[in-house]
């Protein structure tokens, strides 16, 4: 145990592990978005996709547990680092002007916290179905869980669209700093490729957020209907 | 009673250092652990000495007044460090470096010491490489060299424009290692204010903790001073604002002879002072004179902008006076010429302190790009400081004091006339004679600290066997009382009408006018008359706010100015007595008809070592300089 403690007492180790976990979560976010894009192919595609996942409970639950652990590690470590960082400067400057720090980088704690609340909300809302009592709970014609119907129902409601929109903004901002920052923390830099690495952060963030928002607004604007 | 014994080993020049190392007694490793050495100062000489002594097993206590040992002023040296490596195969050798240095010093330095310096120079480079100093390299991976300071061989090693910094960081890192090992105890933010001498030997120092203001005595088996030079006696110099004479001056008052105090080097190409507010002068590379032309308007009343003055109304004074060398005459010659022009009232810029250094011809002939490539960073620095674009209007330059060849007298073993008090680096007088060559100061500092002192101090420690005195020993208490009384006096100025800086400025002006680039008996006598009343007024009227038992920068400064006010007199005495012109010391009475310096080897081929006498004029002792191996010749540039 003391070895683990010693390991994580090092700020650089903590950051490396937090970065690895964060990049893992980013991978999940990409995968999640791509999977959900099947909604554009109609109810059969997305319901089928969902049912394939549900038909492999061991894989599904292992993945879910894994995600939980990775997310827990990431959150735990960054909270610990953030608390330590806050102690780094007990007296604040009276005047402070930033030169290089992006808005995203300065709001990581805020966007991260928002993201956490959003994910909990999202899990309760669409995965567990505990938030919206009026949501359809049925099966589709083939007897699979009607994910398509749930999505359509949810995003017709401007309240949920609003909440998800804010969630996606937080996700986008968080990722736009997190990805390139994670690469730097892992020591991945290269004279010729550094600009690419920097762009990769905002690029991937934009990709995920646009993908997710496209579903939400396609439903909201009636481009996809039941 | 001071007896100067230079302790030079007998035998052929090349063998002297080997002989000394062999004949020196050694301290056994077990005894080293019990021996404590105090090192004051952490510049090149101090840091290298402290780290090497720690490595040898001595208990070292190291002091500096900065917040960190890495900030010593060695850090500001830009050009490079000389070594007789002959990597370029251009005919360099130990003998040639030796000869260049002794000739550059205008035959006022000790042959044996200079030869040893040239011998050790090659080891310094190897040592610094091993410590990780990132010297410039060629594409093939070998060390790069450049030629520097007008010598005909390329023997200067460099780290961009930061050679001093990188060499110091090398020594600092070695020091860090010894601190980590527990061999060196580092005491930053402590200023040495006196030497403790007991039974004729230096046995410790009195320091002031600059944060708490607490005074304390520290005792040891030997004391090493590496406290740098005193160019700041002129108020305006290229030295850091903290540089001062206090440590060496207090040692002088305790019996260490001070050698050649008037040998101060003045660099021709500094950025001129912009006004009374000026706190320091910034040096520009001498290489600017390769392409720039120095001139002033012919008429002193000409107030037109420089570009509006036609060539016929410009006086290219160096080209006029020295047609053969033109703008490339050596430092001291150029500096004197500039000062003479300004004294005639023909200087340009604020206060008439400055001459033009004009690049318009070379820009016209070779294009602005060539100039930008060669001097871009210097032009940028110039613009940052003055706000002027030197591509469009001529630069203005003015000479500035930047190095002091004089210092505490030391023998071949770097020991002063107080046994047990060793002096290294710019703080001692050795090696540079009356004039220092470019890229030689770094070499000397590191030679002293890494390679010479650690040997020679061992011999002293092995032969003098006495335990350190207690910190409440009578001599320590007396030294503490001296320091206390002085601080008390500083805080008691009655009239309270002037700040220490204001006195310092006045003193600087006196010295600059009368004991600067060119000196004459009448001027020096005037200075000697002006200084005592100024000092008196200082003690009457100086305003020092706050108290002694707190962090008090003004008190530190006032103490240093007080010492400058006394030391300046010693400089003038030395300059007055030396009735010849040699190196940086130019006496107007002793020049040829063409205005060239006239050295007098018959009467003045000696080191002037001054002894302090309380309430009397300083007493002169002479260490004759015998030139067995080289023949003194005359420098000429016309």
């Amino acid at each position: 145990m003391s070895r683990v403690k010693v390991f994580f007492n090092s700020s650089v180790n903590s950051k490396i592990v937090a970065s690895l976990a964060g990049l893992g979560l980013t991978g999940f976010a990409i995968f999640h978005m791509l999977g959900n894009l099947q909604v554009f192919e109609g109810s059969d595609a997305i319901n089928g996709y969902a049912s394939i996942l549900r038909d492999m409970p061991i894989l599904l639950w292992t993945a879910r547990m894994g995600l939980l652990i990775v997310a827990g590690l990431h959150i735990g470590l960054v909270i610990r680092l953030a608390l330590r960082n806050r102690q780094g400067r007990p007296v604040a400057y009276a005047v402070r002007r930033y030169r290089a720090a992006s808005v995203a980088s300065r709001t990581m704690v805020l966007t991260g916290s928002l993201l956490l609340f959003f994910i909990i909300f999202h899990l309760l809302h669409l995965t567990a179905g505990l938030i919206d009592a009026s949501a359809p709970d049925g099966l589709d014609i083939q007897g699979r869980v009607d994910v398509y119907g749930k999505i359509i129902h949810a995003f017709r409601n401007p309240l949920y669209v609003g909440i998800y929109f804010v969630g996606q903004l937080a996700l986008g901002l968080h990722l736009s700093h997190a990805i390139s920052s994670g690469l730097q923390t892992l020591g991945i830099e290269h004279a010729a490729l550094n600009r690419l690495f920097k762009l990769a952060g905002s690029g991937i963030a934009l990709f995920v957020v646009l993908g997710n928002l496209s579903i939400i607004f396609a439903v909201f604007l009636g481009l996809i209907r039941a | 009673m001071i007896i100067l014994d230079s302790n030079i080993p007998p035998g052929p020049l090349e063998m002297k250092w080997d002989r000394r190392r062999f004949s020196g007694k050694l301290v056994s490793p077990a005894n080293k652990r019990r021996i404590k050495i105090i090192v004051v100062g952490t510049g090149l000489a101090g840091a290298s000495a402290a780290s090497t002594l720690g490595q040898l097993g001595y208990q070292v206590e190291c002091f500096c007044f900065h917040d960190s040992p890495r900030r010593a002023h060695s850090i500001a040296a830009q050009g490079g460090i000389n070594a007789a490596k002959n990597y370029q195969d251009d005919g360099d050798s130990v003998a040639r470096l030796f000869y260049d240095t002794i000739k550059g010093g205008d035959f006022r330095s000790r042959e044996a010491s200079v030869y040893r310096l040239a011998q050790i120079s090659t080891q310094i480079i190897d040592q610094c490489v091993a410590l990780g100093v990132p010297f410039a390299r060629e594409y093939g991976g070998q060390l790069a060299n450049r030629s520097f300071g007008g010598v005909q061989v390329s023997r200067t090693f460099y780290c961009r424009g930061q050679t001093g910094q990188q060499l110091l960081l090398g020594a600092y890192s070695a020091l860090c290692w010894q601190i980590e090992r527990g061999q060196v105890t580092m005491r930053p933010r402590t200023e040495m204010l006196d030497v403790i001498v007991a039974d004729g030997h230096a046995r410790g120092i009195v320091v002031r903790d600059l944060v708490s203001g607490r005074l304390s005595a520290h005792t040891a088996h030997a004391v090493v001073l590496a406290t740098g030079g005193y160019s700041n006696v002129y108020y305006l110099s290229t030295n850091a604002s903290g540089c001062n004479v206090t440590a060496t001056y207090r040692a002088w008052k305790q019996g260490a002879a001070f050698a050649n105090p008037s040998f101060t080097q003045i660099h021709p190409t500094a950025i001129p002072p912009a006004g009374d507010h000026q706190a320091k002068l910034t040096l520009m590379s001498e290489s600017l004179r390769n392409d720039g032309r120095l001139w002033v308007p012919v008429s002193p009343s000409d107030r037109r902008s420089p570009n509006a003055i036609p060539p016929s109304e410009r006086d290219y004074f160096l080209e006029r006076r020295y047609p053969r060398f033109g703008n490339l005459v050596p430092r001291d010659v150029a500096s004197r010429a500039v000062k003479a022009i300004c004294d005639e009232g023909r200087g340009v810029g604020p206060g008439g302190q400055g001459v033009y250094l004009d690049f318009s011809d070379v820009i016209r002939q070779q294009g602005i790009e060539v100039v930008r490539e060669r001097y871009g960073n210097l032009f940028e620095m110039y613009q940052r400081i003055t706000g002027e674009n030197a591509y469009e209007v001529p630069m203005r330059i003015y000479p500035a004091p930047h190095y002091t060849m004089g210092g505490l007298w030391v023998d071949y073993n770097l020991m002063s006339t107080i046994p047990g008090l060793f002096v290294v680096g710019e703080a001692n007088f050795a090696d540079h004679g009356a004039n220092r060559l470019g890229a030689s100061s770094l070499m000397q500092g590191l030679a002293d600290g890494y390679f010479i002192l650690p040997y020679t101090i061992g011999h002293y420690l092995a032969t003098v066997d006495s335990p350190p005195i207690a910190e409440d020993h009578g001599a320590a208490r007396a030294a503490l009382e001296r320091v206390e009384a002085r601080i008390k006096k500083l805080l008691q100025g009655k009239g309270r009408r002037r700040t220490a800086a204001s006195f310092h400025r006045t003193l600087g002006k006196i010295l600059w006018d009368h004991c600067g680039m060119s000196r004459c008996a009448a001027g020096l006598r005037a200075a000697l008359e002006a200084i005592p009343p100024l000092r008196e007024e200082f003690w009457q009227n100086v305003v020092v706010p706050g108290s002694g038992d707190m962090f008090n920068q003004e008190l530190e400064y006032a103490g240093r100015v007080a010492d400058f006010l006394e030391f300046a007199e010693l400089m003038c005495h030395d300059a007055l007595h030396r009735e010849e012109s040699c190196g940086a010391h130019f006496r107007e009475e002793y020049q040829t008809e063409d205005g060239e310096p006239r050295r007098d080897d018959e009467r003045f081929a000696y080191v002037a070592a001054w002894e302090y006498r309380e309430g009397e004029a300083p007493v002169l002792h002479k260490e004759p300089l015998n030139f067995e191996f080289v023949q003194p010749t005359t420098r000429s540039y016309q």
Partner: protein, 277 residues
Amino acid sequence: MLVAGRKRRGGYRRIVKLTLRIWRQRGPNERGGLVTYQVDDISPDMSFLEMLDALNQQLIMAGEEPVAFEHDCREGICGSCSLVIDGVPHGPDRGVTTCQLYMRRFADGKTITIEPWRARAFPIVKDLVVDRRALDRIMQAGGYISVNTGGAVDGNTLLIGKEEAETAMDAASCIGCGACVAACKNASAMLFVAAKVAHLATLPQGKPERTRRVMAMVQAMDREGFGSCGNQYECEAVCPKNISVRFIALLNREYLRAGILGTKMPAQSDPPHGESY
């Protein structure tokens, strides 16, 4: 914006009036606060520190305590000066130290706020002077190559490519002022540590100790109470020597490498063979 006049030959002397808000604090454990001062008579050719000198001369003559601030070489190399000017360490110019900042940079009538470096690891000594010994202690933990004086091989025995040498020099140009810490949201010293680690890890001389060095220096950095790096790169933006944050990536790499490769097999103790030779 009205910028104080550029100097020209002849009538260049423009006087500037300024309001200064300066952090005053008598000692480490005392309460501090911003105090407002008026200075006039400021020439645009003054350096920022000369302007403070002028203020201090006024204060001394008025029987007040001058403002304590650190300075020495006044040419941007010793790393002593350390002022946060209007929220930016070393002030509005890039790639320079406070001492290289000139008053012509400031508009007439402006208010300037001057604060010390702020970090838990840099306790205030007085006013604008802070204690930066934490940086020295990091260096003592491993910022060196353990070689004895004497016996070094010829400098040319070690061939070091020009590019490696230049990279090492880029990193080594750190002057240890601590602006990186002052600028960092987390008061992290990563750029400082990275510069030294990169300097020595790039050169062959530094390789034998690279594992121990990076571990020890990071450990010392954490121990001193600096925060961790948030990769915001404020440090690089205020560094007077423009040291690149790429060296931080290099430090992370070195650290990872040390973590993976550095775990040694337990050292086998020599078989006991007494004191016989």
